[in-house]
Each structure stands twice: as structure tokens, then as C-alpha cells.
């Protein structure tokens, strides 16, 4: 089913802040097997000029994707989530995410296209901290494969 083109350019209200915890960063770093000290040791992070432990670059996806859920699950858009695969992912950082951040995401639908029966959705997530400063933007391309295609 073709998606509703009128959704292009639509932004969703900023999410409630997500508070980034040291132990959540540690859990994520351990899950990807990355022993970088700046992810777990505040002193190591400070030695690199960071205020507290920082998160691995892709950590923020869990936050932007949760915010994108509001878009993905919007029944008016008509996306068949059971057929969705992650096509592309990109981030542009103003600074690394760090423990203590309270991050809010504003999701915007950048494009809605159809190609060979596949529905393609580009969602941008602008992430700001509690002071309103931009931290990182994530772009997520989701592809809903055509029905009937395994």
C-alpha cells in the first residue's frame, strides 16, 4: 500500500527527555564488546576533555528510534511495520552523548517514496539537550518491502 505523501515535512512534538545514565552506557559498551575507557571511567573521559563518560557513537539510535516509533506507528501514515527493514543510518554530531544528558528528540518525516512496490520512509531525529543545545541528528531510512516478497 502506498504511503500518504502528505506526511512529507511533518514534524512530531519533541519527546519527553531521555536521561542518559552511566550504567546504561556501560551496558551498551559491554554489549558491543568495546573496552574504551571513556565509556565507563569518568576520569578517562575527562582526560579527553569530556565532562562525564561518553556514549559510543551509535548509542543514541535507541533514543531516536524510539522517538521514530511515533511516526512508524502512526496509523494515518499506513506503514506495514511487519515488513520494515532498516535501509540506511546516518548521524551528524555536534558533540558526543554523555552521562547526565537529558535528551529530547524531534522527529521529522523527510521523504516518503515508493520504489518497485517498496515503501521508503526517511525520518530525521534532531536531538537536543536540556539547555536546548543541539547534540546530534540521526537520519533513518526504513524500507517496507512489497507484500508478497519474502
Amino acid at each position: 500500500m502506498a504511503l500518504d505523501q502528505s506526511f512529507v515535512g511533518r514534524s512530531y512534538p519533541p519527546t519527553e527527555p531521555y536521561e542518559v545514565g552511566r550504567e546504561k552506557i556501560r551496558e551498551f559498551a559491554e554489549a558491543v564488546g568495546d573496552p574504551t575507557p571513556a565509556y565507563t571511567d569518568p576520569e578517562a573521559a575527562k582526560a579527553l576533555g569530556h565532562r562525564d563518560v561518553i556514549a559510543p557513537p551509535t548509542f543514541v539510535f535507541a533514543i531516536t528510534y524510539r522517538a521514530a516509533g511515533e511516526v512508524i506507528e502512526d496509523p494515518r501514515l499506513g506503514l506495514d511495520y511487519s515488513r520494515v527493514v532498516h535501509g540506511d543510518q546516518r548521524f551528524a554530531y555536534n558533540r558526543p552523548v554523555r552521562a547526565g544528558d537529558r535528551l529530547s528528540v524531534t522527529s521529522t518525516i523527510e521523504s516518503v517514496t515508493s520504489m518497485a512496490g517498496n515503501d521508503i520512509l526517511d525520518i530525521r531525529g534532531d536531538v537536543h539537550d536540556e539547555a536546548g543545545e543541539h547534540v546530534v541528528t540521526g537520519w533513518t531510512k526504513l524500507v517496507a518491502r512489497a507484500a508478497g516478497e519474502a
Partner: protein
């Protein structure tokens, strides 16, 4: 930010140290919990096959995280990453055996940009085939 590599010391074509990362079913369960992505294609073989996959596959974002390590280990400061993007072109298939799968990652400097930044082009393969396209990072060096 405190990258340990100096902009003036690198050239286009400079290779980053290549790495091989292992991933098995336990890795994926752990990543699911840490990331909050519980899509069953990453842990339930029956479900994965029902939706047409050859077997359980790794989270694309897990692969993206591993590939980033080649860059952040090289610069010495994960805060040096200015931009990072990938295209997920082929899944990393993770069999339920002792070995699991491996992801082999290499990178080279493709361009020297303004403001002490360089673009690194990255290659990731699993089972001998590329699993990412357009995999690039822009990092700020010292």
C-alpha cells in the same frame, strides 16, 4: 576532543588498522537487551525463517557499532566522530553454532577536509561478502 592522530600526519590512502569482530547468538541477545531492539529476527530462528531470512541475523546497528570501533580506536577519542553513516546492504547471518559469524572491517582515508577533519571510507564483510555500502565517517583529528 583529543584525537591522538594528527591531521598533518595522515594522507589520502592511509589505512586504519583492520579488525575482525566475532558475533554469536549470545552477543545478539545481549545487544538486544542493551539497545532495546527485541525484533525476533535477531534471536528466533523459526521467526527469521518464516519471514524469508536464511537464519537469525545480526542487528544492523550492532554491525554499525562494531565498524565504528575501527575509527574510534584509531583516533583514540570517540568524541572525534563528526559524521557517521552506513547503508545496510546484506545481513550478517549468525548460525547457532560454536563459531557464530565474523565481521571483518577495514578503513582508509578517502579525503582530507576542512577544519582538521578527514573522511574515512569503511568496508565490512561477513562470510566473504560486503554487508554495508556507503559506510563513511568524518572524524576530527588533532
Amino acid at each position: 576532543m583529543a584525537a591522538k592522530i594528527a591531521y598533518d600526519d595522515v594522507q589520502v590512502g592511509t589505512e586504519l588498522p583492520a579488525r575482525t569482530f566475532r558475533v554469536n547468538r549470545a552477543t545478539l541477545v545481549r545487544y538486544a537487551g542493551a539497545s532495546g531492539d527485541f525484533n525476533p529476527i535477531h534471536w528466533d530462528e523459526r521467526f527469521a525463517k518464516e519471514v524469508g531470512l536464511p537464519d537469525v541475523i545480526a542487528h544492523g546497528m550492532f554491525t554499525m557499532a562494531e565498524v565504528a570501533r575501527v575509527v574510534t580506536d584509531w583516533t583514540g577519542d570517540p568524541g572525534s566522530v563528526v559524521e557517521y553513516g552506513v547503508r545496510f546492504t546484506r545481513p550478517v547471518v549468525v548460525p547457532n553454532d560454536d563459531q557464530g559469524a565474523t565481521i571483518e572491517v577495514s578503513g582508509r582515508i578517502a579525503a582530507k577536509l576542512d577544519d582538521h577533519t578527514v573522511r574515512v571510507d569503511l568496508t565490512a564483510t561477513s562470510a566473504g561478502r560486503k554487508v554495508l555500502g556507503m559506510s563513511r565517517a568524518v572524524v576530527r583529528l588533532a
